[in-house]
């Protein structure tokens, strides 16, 4: 029988092919490349979707549950490997929905590698890909719903931040100061992703992530110089998509936090314990709430909007990766 890891890897191959065809499409505008790109991206989503189902059954097995209908209880989102797979999968899915809605494929060549890097990082960073049994605290009916809604929220936030970076590439008046901000924020993001895997040699990984961030910025700069940015939707449309994915992210984060509270009520005895992860999810929620209000009173457009979008995503990254590094809390089994 085919294993979930094989399916996840198969999905990654499909994403890679999609990336190639998105790139070909971007430069050649050929319609068959465009169709193949979208086709492979969807194929990857389907394969990995099947991967999650197989994974759920594998987990039910290691948890010694024979009743397969209970597999949602053993939803495969309980360690770093599984959650990063979910992250990549949701990001591609959300991208495809935006692609379908806005009929613009310019971002495919950026989203695919991002999802791919996220998923591949499980192998580079050495997260265990084995299906593991669940500790008692994670055996809950709420697990699936809490994690899925939260991750849609995270992925939407990632999409919004991706658009925000592309937005600076698109704009003609991007200054050195903007580039500095792009560098520092991506440095922060890469650092927390890498460091959360090793948790030692702080300075060393700070250096490594600086190099990765510099490469990323170089890549963005190259895109700008080569003129690919011309293919992006207009500045206004990008602002619109940025805001819309933040709105989607906000709604799902809210639902995720609330479902987490319901779960906490049954597992820990109270809907809110000020556990560091809970607190950081609240901080993220507050940042996005401020964002939506700032947009509402119309002050927030243009670059400040993009900055705020990135700050919101930093908060998400910290909630996802950073929290367990500072204080071990009730969520620290997520490693």
């Amino acid at each position: 029988m085919i294993t979930s890891v094989e399916l996840f890897n198969g999905g990654m191959v499909a994403y890679f092919l999609a990336f190639l065809f998105y790139t070909i499409y971007t430069f050649s505008k050929s319609s068959w490349a465009s169709k193949l790109a979208t086709g492979f991206a969807w194929l990857g989503v389907v394969i990995q979707g099947a991967g999650f189902i197989v994974r759920g059954m594998e987990k039910a097995k290691v948890n010694m549950v024979s009743d397969w209908t209970a597999f949602y209880k053993y939803a495969p989102f309980t360690n770093m490997y599984e959650s990063l797979m979910l992250f990549g999968w949701t990001a591609v899915l959300i991208y495809l929905l935006f692609e379908w809605k806005y009929k613009n494929k310019a971002f495919g060549m950026f989203v695919m590698p991002l999802a791919l890097i996220g998923e591949l990082s499980t192998q580079i960073l050495g997260f265990n890909s084995e299906a593991q049994p669940l500790v008692p605290a994670l055996q809950s009916n709420w697990l699936l719903f809490h994690v899925v809604t939260t991750f849609i929220g995270y992925a939407a936030a990632a999409v919004s931040a991706g658009i925000a970076y592309a937005y600076f590439v698109k704009r003609d008046d991007t200054t050195a100061k903007d580039w500095a901000v792009i560098f520092i924020t991506t440095w922060f993001i890469f650092f927390f992703i890498i460091y959360s895997a090793y948790r030692e040699n702080f300075v060393y990984y700070l250096g490594i992530s600086a190099v990765v961030a510099a490469l990323f910025c170089g890549f963005l700069y190259l895109i700008k110089k080569v003129g690919i940015a011309k293919l992006f939707p207009s500045v206004e449309t990008m602002e619109q998509i940025m805001y819309q994915s933040v709105a989607v992210g906000f709604v799902f984060l809210t639902i995720g936090i609330i479902l987490g509270a319901v779960w906490a009520k049954y597992a820990w005895g109270g809907y809110w314990s000020w556990d560091p992860k809970e607190t950081w999810s609240l901080i993220t929620w507050l940042v996005y709430a401020a964002y939506l209000h700032a947009r509402y009173i119309k002050g927030l457009r243009g670059k400040p909007l993009a900055y705020f979008t990135i700050v919101g995503f930093l908060s998400v990254i910290f909630t996802y990766y950073g929290v367990n590094l500072i204080i071990p809390g009730l969520h620290s089994y997520a490693q």
């Binding site: 008692p136 109270g270 560091p276 607190t279 507050l286 209000h293 908060s315």
Partner: protein
């Protein structure tokens, strides 16, 4: 003065400021460990820093006066803001200008016009029908011989999504307040076969007496083949007035509820002490799990917390009138309970398992769930449901010729509305455009 205050509290800027301030100050509590014993802080930070942290409330940020003040301000801001804006939004939503005089189409995001080969009344009815098919509420706002105005809208309630969210947030805040005032969270350690009605708070000397007893009949741990724990299971009974009224197994994620009090499987440990308690008339021996208090006299409790197997020193906590004192006793030696004629001694010890229950009562929970549900509904309405309005003007241009101008506004994203209007026009075109040349104005 009142006006100034009102303006201050009704500004969205204040809301943004409060949200961001709460976000930033919340970070503090994830960097400094919260609600620890003073000794722990002293060891980590030293005397001076600890005093500063304590003074600023940084050792218990989320219950500090200024954090609560910020939340209260946010609540007030929310209410005042909503009160101020609601009438305006009401007016925009419920009392729109319904006529559509020439030139007004220029102010709409979407508008188009078309000339049709038909009678005015026919077009009017067909248009109303087409809009109704799209679930619009349609009304004729002006009707004259040569000109008819039509107004249609749908999802008016979407305008109030934001207020639904705000209401939800407010209810959640109130729920939190109820939790803070009327709720408690404590613990109970029960060795197999023992029962108790005493709940200790996680920190501090507070002990609550429940109106019923909880008995642990059995505590089991299941393991996976790898040795990892699979389940912690406590078989509990509720004893009320000397009778067992309920018996159930609890697991992590599957608590027991009785009379509004929840019992959660939270931890386990080892150690049961046996105490002999004597006064002039009676003598009894009771077993009690480590960490679980035993009542010696009114407002007087004793907890056995540790046993040093080498020195036979027994660590105790003695709680009297809300004050906690730590001490050491020796086995088999009787100690007098202050203020009574009772004496007690520890006479035996068994290293058996006890189950650690978390005990919580929280009447605010349901309020929070209600608020949360309202909030989610509000968010979906506010972000995903557009309020759409359509205006149309049909002008008579000849015996069998009319000009139709139609336009609309959507509260979010105009693509959907544009699509709808195109379809509505499509219906009219397919009915009345057979003989006209290609419509040049569209």
């Amino acid at each position: 003065m009142f006006k100034k205050l009102y303006d201050f509290f009704s500004s969205v800027k204040l809301a943004i400021f409060l949200l961001l301030t709460l976000a930033i100050t919340s970070i503090v509590g994830t960097i400094i460990e919260q609600q620890q014993d003073p000794e722990k802080y002293l060891m980590e930070y030293g005397q001076t820093t600890y005093k500063i942290l304590k003074f600023l409330g940084f050792t218990d940020v989320y219950h500090s006066w200024w954090y609560i003040a910020l939340l209260t301000l946010l609540g007030v801001n929310l209410i005042v803001c909503s009160i101020k804006r609601l009438p305006k939004i009401w007016k925009v939503a419920m009392e729109p200008r319904k006529t559509f005089s020439p030139g007004q189409e220029k102010s709409l995001r979407i508008s188009s016009s078309i000339t049709l080969q038909a009678k005015l009344q026919e077009v009017k009815e067909k248009l109303i029908e087409a809009l109704k098919a799209k679930r619009y509420k349609v009304e004729v706002s002006k009707e004259e011989e040569s000109e008819v105005h039509i107004f249609a809208d749908k999802n008016v309630y979407a305008r109030f999504g934001v207020y639904i969210v705000h209401l939800g947030v407010l209810i959640v805040l109130i729920g939190g307040l109820i939790t803070a005032i009327f709720g408690y969270r404590g613990y109970m350690n029960l060795a197999e076969g023992t029962m108790s009605n005493l709940v200790s708070f996680f920190s501090g000397p507070k002990v609550i007496e429940l109106p019923f007893y909880v008995k642990c009949n059995k505590f089991t741990i299941d393991f996976y083949p790898s040795g990892m724990p699979k389940a912690y299971i406590s078989d509990l009974s509720i004893i009320e007035n000397g009778k067992e009224v309920l018996r159930r197994e609890i697991k992590v994620n599957d608590p027991l509820k009785y009379k509004g009090v929840y019992f959660y499987q939270a931890s386990y440990g080892r150690g049961e002490a046996f105490l002999k308690i004597k006064d002039k008339s009676s003598e009894r021996i009771v077993g009690v799990a480590f960490g679980q208090p035993i009542k010696l006299a009114p407002k007087t409790y004793l907890r056995i917390v540790s046993l040093d197997g080498r020195t036979m020193n027994i660590g105790i906590e003695f709680i009297k009138d809300g004050e906690i004192r730590e001490g050491v006793i020796k086995p088999f030696i009787f100690y007098q309970v202050p203020g009574t004629d009772k004496v007690f001694a520890m006479v035996d010890f068994k290293p058996v398992f006890y189950t650690g229950l978390q005990v919580a009562k929280d009447p605010g929970t349901w309020v929070v769930w209600v608020g949360s549900t309202i909030m989610i509904i509000g968010l979906v309405v506010a972000f995903f449901i557009p309020h759409r309005r359509v205006w149309a003007r049909i002008e008579k241009k000849g015996e069998d010729k009319v000009r139709l101008v139609i336009g609309g506004l959507s509260s979010k994203g105009s693509e959907g509305l544009a699509q709808e209007l195109e379809e509505v026009l499509g219906v009219l075109k397919s009915s009345y455009c057979k003989n006209t040349p290609k419509e040049e104005e569209l």
